[in-house]
Amino acid sequence: MVNPAKEPAFPHRHLLGIEGLSAQDIGFLLDLAEAAIEVSRQVEKKRSTLRGRTLINLFFEASTRTQSSFELAGKRLGADVMNMSVATSSVKKGETLIDTAMTLNAMRPDIIVVRHAQAGAVHLLAKKVDCAVVNAGDGAHEHPTQALLDALTIRRNKGRIEGLTVVICGDILHSRVARSNILLLSALGARVRVAGPSTLLPPGIERMGVEVFRDMRAGLNGADIVMMLRLQRERMQGGYIPSAKEYFRFFGLDEAKLCYAKPDALVLHPGPINRGVEIDSAVADGPRSLIREQVEMGVAVRIAVLEALAQHLPNG
């Protein structure tokens, strides 16, 4: 590097997905997040990185933890944060999305964080606005900050990502978390598996560089990290699985199934959890669960992402 000051460490204006990020980019964000953990642990949680900046949380889909952690991250960096929750029921989505984008753009925000039920919607919006855009989840496509916070949680507990066997279990088909995690963990050298019933596995998933298991115990066998996914029953018109009862019996993570993973295997779940559906309470609340730590890491990762994008803001 000839002149590090002129060469931004994070060379992207938006964060639309894990796709397109290099292992170096990911490492940079994780290191930044590691440092940001301390921000939230202090009595004085305020920094000035984004002082005077405007952050808009534009959520077309309901969210608790993602929206609130972006809000906290923005506020802790000193930005003015505006939350917009947009009901999608009565509007024609394509038209409204662009109209909304143009309207918001006219208000001159610096960063927009977007969640939308349709895959690709965030990319479309990013083309229409002048500010930085962060994807907070688009359909079943990507949820990059979730994958980053999962990776940070794993790295802090295992000391590394490379060489670990990570099994992502359950409703892969509807999961943007799964897709972002597959990309990120593979990029950092983990061995990634997916396990679930065939009806909840996207066709061709094996060509995304993962090992596919239709039997949960076989998938768990020898795993370092067990990443459970929420069964997205609200997206299941048309019967992908027989019942919650049968799903729990064959694909729900309980202590008996967890025994097939390594003795020191740790359990993640992006939340919100369906107790007794994809995960047993004894595991979710047990000593090997990192679910609450994931939430804390969520704030740190979002601080890091906003800081990284701030480098590119005009007059930054």
Binding site: P197, G238, P242, E246
Partner: protein, 446 residues
């Protein structure tokens, strides 16, 4: 027969006969090798200990019971992959007690029961109920099919995993074909994860419409609406494409036309896990037997043209058709003594399937061992069962029959609770003389 009386007399297939039993001086039919030899079979502790030419009275344990078969045939007990048993919900038509008695008299030692009962077999508790009832009141083995979709609604996948753990042998929606291809695809995907066999009654219900018999000249002469052969072929073709997509194991419950046979032949040539069965009725009867609106010959699928019957027999002889089923479907008189269009479908068949099948042997259309194979080892292989074979260590489910003994079918003497046999007053050659389940004699002709 009153059930309390029956319970006293019944022989449980679950219990094991401790006295060794030998059937000697028999024409042994080995369905695996499609071969016949003279000899005997020794059954000890419910399983076949030995068989072959060396099994003669001189070589047997002193305490063994020896039955001289006088040159009759001895074969594995028959496995019927498609029978409607009234329990639960239609006990006035049939019970496990009466069905298994009819089965024993017909040489059927394993009945695979249709799941479209009332309530349907779509919950583990119903599978458990059937297995317990069969244990307590059944004379031969009964294996429940369980539903593919919840409530047989053709919309949501049934609890295939839990049903399988409860003891369901395979999965089917009975005679209700799954209309929606998306649902069928997911059912197949899901079933494949559990290595569960999908048994589908292939019929395009919309095309079949209000038809009551085979479409064609004869239906037109009778003034009855027909069911085109294509109703079966279209659904079967769709299913095979979905098998190719999903990798499921698939068994066509009942194929009745040459069009369907072409589809099955191609699927097998393509290496897909596809098998099929036809019914004894479709092999031995045709649409002309309906004659003067005989409702006992109103079946689903309908009896077809003679050309189709011949194609089915040829496919059985070549092995393209894997299994022959009874399609046992007891209907009481009130539902059959109606105008043809209004009468219920179905015929009883457990007790006559072997005798009717022997017609094809006597007419030279098919070798005996091939017929027996389609009623024993092939169903066993498809369902993953240990019985249905003449093999050391296999369950001692055996039958003795005289292939030539003539008799006239007298409905009054049939053991089923309903008497709707299409072979009413028919002359047959070939009679079961003894039926054994797990080494225990459950039927002996007078």
């Amino acid at each position: 027969m009153d059930e309390s009386e029956f319970r006293v007399k019944r022989s449980s297939p679950a219990s094991i006969a401790h006295q060794p039993l030998a059937l000697v001086n028999a024409r042994l039919i080995d369905p695996a090798l499609l071969r016949e030899t003279m000899g005997g079979v020794l059954v000890v502790d419910g399983v076949i200990r030995d068989f072959g030419t060396a099994i003669m009275p001189a070589n047997l344990p002193a305490h063994a019971r020896i039955i001289d078969c006088g040159g009759d045939c001895v074969a594995p007990g028959l496995i019927d992959m498609w029978a409607f048993i009234g329990e639960p919900g239609a006990e006035h038509r049939e019970t496990i007690a009466t069905a298994t008695l009819a089965a024993a008299a017909g040489g059927v030692t394993t009945i695979v029961a249709r799941p479209d009962t009332n309530p349907p077999v779509d919950e583990a508790a119903v599978v458990d109920f059937l297995l317990r009832r069969a244990r307590d009141t059944g004379r031969v083995r009964l294996l429940p099919l369980a539903a593919l979709t919840a409530g047989l609604n053709g919309a949501e996948i049934a609890e295939i995993g839990l049903l399988q753990l409860a003891g369901a042998v395979a999965f089917s929606d009975g005679v209700r074909a799954i209309r929606n291809a998306r649902v069928m695809r997911r059912v197949m995907q899901y079933a494949r994860d559990f290595n569960a066999l999908v048994v589908h009654y292939a019929e395009d219900r919309d095309l079949a419409g209000e038809g009551v018999m085979n479409e064609g000249e004869f239906a037109s002469r009778l003034g009855l609406s027909g069911i085109a052969r294509e109703a079966e072929a279209i659904m079967l073709d769709r299913d095979i494409r979905l098998v190719n997509l999903t990798g499921a194991r698939y068994h066509a419950a009942l194929v009745t036309t040459a069009l369907s046979l072409d589809i099955i032949a191609k699927a097998k040539a393509d290496g897909l896990a596809v098998t099929c069965a036809t019914s004894i009725n479709h092999l031995t009867l045709n649409e002309n037997d309906i004659g003067d609106y005989r409702t006992f010959l109103k079946l689903a699928p309908p009896l077809r043209h003679e050309d189709e019957r011949r194609a089915l027999v040829a496919a059985l002889a070549s092995g393209l058709i894997d299994a022959v089923v009874s399609d046992h479907n007891p209907q009481d008189v009130e539902t059959k003594r109606l105008p043809f269009t209004e009468a219920e479908d179905g015929a009883i068949g457990l007790e006559t399937m072997l005798s009717a099948g022997l017609r094809l042997v006597h007419s030279g259309e098919i070798p005996l061992a091939r017929l027996i194979a389609a009623m024993t080892i092939r169903p066993a292989e498809i369902l993953g069962l240990p019985q249905g074979r003449l093999e050391v260590g296999a369950p001692g489910d055996l039958i003795r029959f005289d292939p030539d003994e003539p008799f006239v079918v007298d409905p009054a003497k049939l053991h089923s609770r309903c008497k709707n046999t299409p072979f009413d007053e028919a002359r047959m050659e070939g009679k079961v003389k003894l039926t054994m389940v797990a080494g225990e004699i459950v039927y002996e002709a007078e």
